[in-house]
């Protein structure tokens, strides 16, 4: 009974999703620099005719429903717009180099006359002035407040969140204000949840400045904070007005943070996009060397994958959970070692290897896929084993409060079938999980 209740999404479900909502489009006046001389594997060139056709159909629908507000201005630096198709909550992801130099792009999504920029002590000295300029240039009606939070996952808590509310209330912001998240995943998650809860919901905009946030956390409306006993346990599904990705902000990103973001890029390849994975295998050196065209393509393709999944399953009733490959193990590492000891992507990388190991033990994937997953994460200089502090018992007790537990049963995202396919299921041999945990932990 219990196993049946945890409906398993077979590889087919994940795979069929590929046909839907290919919603990226080149901006009319896109700069050719960012994504021009790209390696071959694009969605169109690898999909069979039927899928390509379905993709075209959905693409039209997406563009038609959301186009009026989403066209970048003429001569814009926007190289790609990815539409997240969620009915009246649809929004564009703008991707390009130098987008913070385009005030029009940001201002069109500001509602009301008051803006609160939420950022942190690391990002504020780099970009707060620029963003404030972009919000107010030729726009004297808008006033900007800011709140600068301490930097790090360990501050993604209720106490820090209250600082945002305090600032908003003290500044007498009203329902027609706009919150702007300027920073990485922690800032985006906290600002988004604050926007969801302040006066029961105000507008917000995501300006992600880390690769992690640009390829994953800023897209899809998951917001929240950590509880001392588990990650992201308190939050809301709350969509932004737009996501503005200025790839030039990656110039100031430390190497370790860059690698952390790559863990999520690898994830998309493993769970649903084999050509993208193969592209990564060839282009990892270019990504690590921060070649602009490689980074831009990785961001674009990641956002497309995420938008496709979110459009089909906004509130994670099934398919969306597959985006959490490696995250159940990873969240346990983050919680178990104290938030911030490992970066999110580092924990996800080790978790991904554990998930691949367990998938292989179950006989669901070939040894070669497991090996390729390990190899690519190693190439990205990411950890492929959990830290020593993590014991079998620690993993088990923390994983028991994971959001994907249903009626007491832990559901996991595991690889199954050829490269680029996965399942979300509670129907697996418990021994395989135990064996994986024992293989990766000293005690």
């Amino acid at each position: 009974m219990a196993a049946a209740a945890s409906s398993s999404l077979l590889a087919a479900a994940s795979s069929s999703s590929r046909a839907a909502a290919v919603s990226a489009r080149r901006a009319p006046s896109a700069s050719p620099a960012a994504a021009a001389s790209l390696p071959s594997p694009s969605r169109a060139s690898c999909a069979p005719p039927l899928r390509a056709s379905a993709a075209r159909t959905l693409r039209s629908r997406v563009v038609a429903s959301a186009a009026p507000a989403m066209q970048p201005p003429p001569a814009s630096r926007v190289s790609t717009v990815v539409d997240v198709d969620l009915g009246d909550r649809s929004y564009p992801i703008y991707i390009g180099a130098g987008l913070l130099d385009e005030p029009d792009l940001l201002q069109r999504h500001v509602h009301g006359k008051r803006v609160l920029v939420v950022t942190n002590t690391t990002v504020a000295p780099l970009y707060l002035e620029k963003v404030t300029w972009a919000l107010t240039h030729n726009n004297p009606n808008v006033s900007v407040e800011s709140v600068i939070l301490p930097d790090g996952e360990k501050y993604k808590d209720m106490g820090t969140l209250m600082k945002v509310f305090d600032k908003a209330v003290e500044s007498r912001l009203d329902r027609r204000c706009t919150f702007v998240a300027l920073g990485g995943g922690v800032i985006g998650d906290m600002c988004g949840f604050a926007a969801a809860a302040f006066l029961r919901g105000v507008n917000f905009i995501q300006i992600p400045t880390t690769l992690m946030a640009q390829v994953d956390s800023s897209v899809g409306g998951k917001t929240g904070i950590n509880h001392p006993l588990g990650k992201n346990l308190i939050g809301a599904f709350y969509q932004p007005q737009c996501v503005l990705i200025d790839t030039e902000t990656l110039n100031t990103l430390p190497d370790r943070e860059l690698a952390s973001g790559i863990a999520e890029v690898v994830k998309y390849g493993l769970i649903r996009d084999a050509p993208f994975f193969e592209w990564q295998e060839k282009n990892m050196p270019a990504l690590l060397a921060r070649e602009p065209s490689a980074l831009a393509y990785a961001i674009k393709r990641s956002c497309e994958n995420k938008a496709e999944v979110v459009a089909q399953d906004e509130k994670e009733s099934g398919l969306r959970a597959t985006l959490n490959l490696g995250h159940t193990f990873g969240h346990a590492i983050e919680t178990g070692t104290g938030y911030g000891a490992w970066l999110h992507g580092e924990a996800v990388a080790a978790g991904t290897v554990m998930a691949a190991d367990m998938s292989h033990r179950l006989g669901w994937i070939d040894e070669s896929i497991k090996k390729r997953a390990i190899d690519i994460l190693e190439k990205a200089k990411l950890p492929i084993t959990p830290p020593e502090a993590m014991t079998v018992e620690k993993f088990k007790s923390i994983m028991a409060v994971d959001k994907k537990v249903a009626d007491g049963l832990l559901r996991l995202i595991l690889l199954k079938g050829p490269l680029g396919t996965c399942v979300f299921t509670g129907d697996y041999d418990r021994n395989a999980l135990d064996e994986t945990l024992r293989a990766f932990c000293d005690c």
Copy 2:
């Protein structure tokens, strides 16, 4: 410009809403005791033919869309079901004496196997055991946890809310659990917000045990907590699975709490239901004497009014704000005197008199309406002036952070026209507000 931006809802808008969604229905096997020998003014007997016709149409639609899950069991004590029509978020309000003795009614709305009852130190000794029995009787698959919070508006804060999250996490509740709010408005607001945010949203059920919660706060999905600088500034719109009103719980309610709830009953009459107001004028002694049929009718008619408004404007883009007659002044009193010094309904009563006074100064209502508003609140033994501690400046500074401020302009609900009509507007003479504040404050 600013005034134009605060779109004023004219009386006609409020009035026309009356024709929509009369969604109450008698249960097939309803006990005749609760609502039988009622005084005359029902919606049908006072509405002109056109309105009655529109009401019938909408009523069918509501019942058709939501009936399968909402039919009370045969031989139920449910005397009335009011449907809140919100598409896929629709739910029933069950009203009747002794409903907590009907386990089926509650159990059909429980999702998953785990329940967390959120209640307080006053209500727990009275009803927690009964509710636990109702949840588990003949239902061995369900287990019930509870968290008992301190009682009072001053505990409607982030620290107390965290106790709910702590209990939920420690109990390893998952997304398929159900939160049950057992208590008054504070418990309902906090439990609802906790349910909205825990794991980004779990099911919840409202079991209101005060008249205030039964006629107002448990219906419509407004949840949240207070900020030290303002009431209900942090929260979510989040609808319950059902509202279960056992009118017998009022037997244990202190007189002062009963009167507090009556303030909201009076509100419905003043803003949109003149026949209901006239009924109250005749039946106030019966309400104060807790005559079951009078209380049942007041609850039913209040829930119908609230459901009609919420169905048309769930997220308060306009019409729903009219339910806040007297609340801007009232919230200022609650915040200014320290949460809990006055009960919510007491503050609303004084605020309603201030709103009526201002409406009269503006020339928008006859003296007689203002006088009737004061008289009925006095009859209910509610305060008709703010406490001495409230100065003009205190009112102004607190009202400036009210949620109904838009782009800096304070919008108010004011009476305008004949009895039972109001407006929500920022387009009024500021002098009238100043005069009202000065008339009610010593300095």
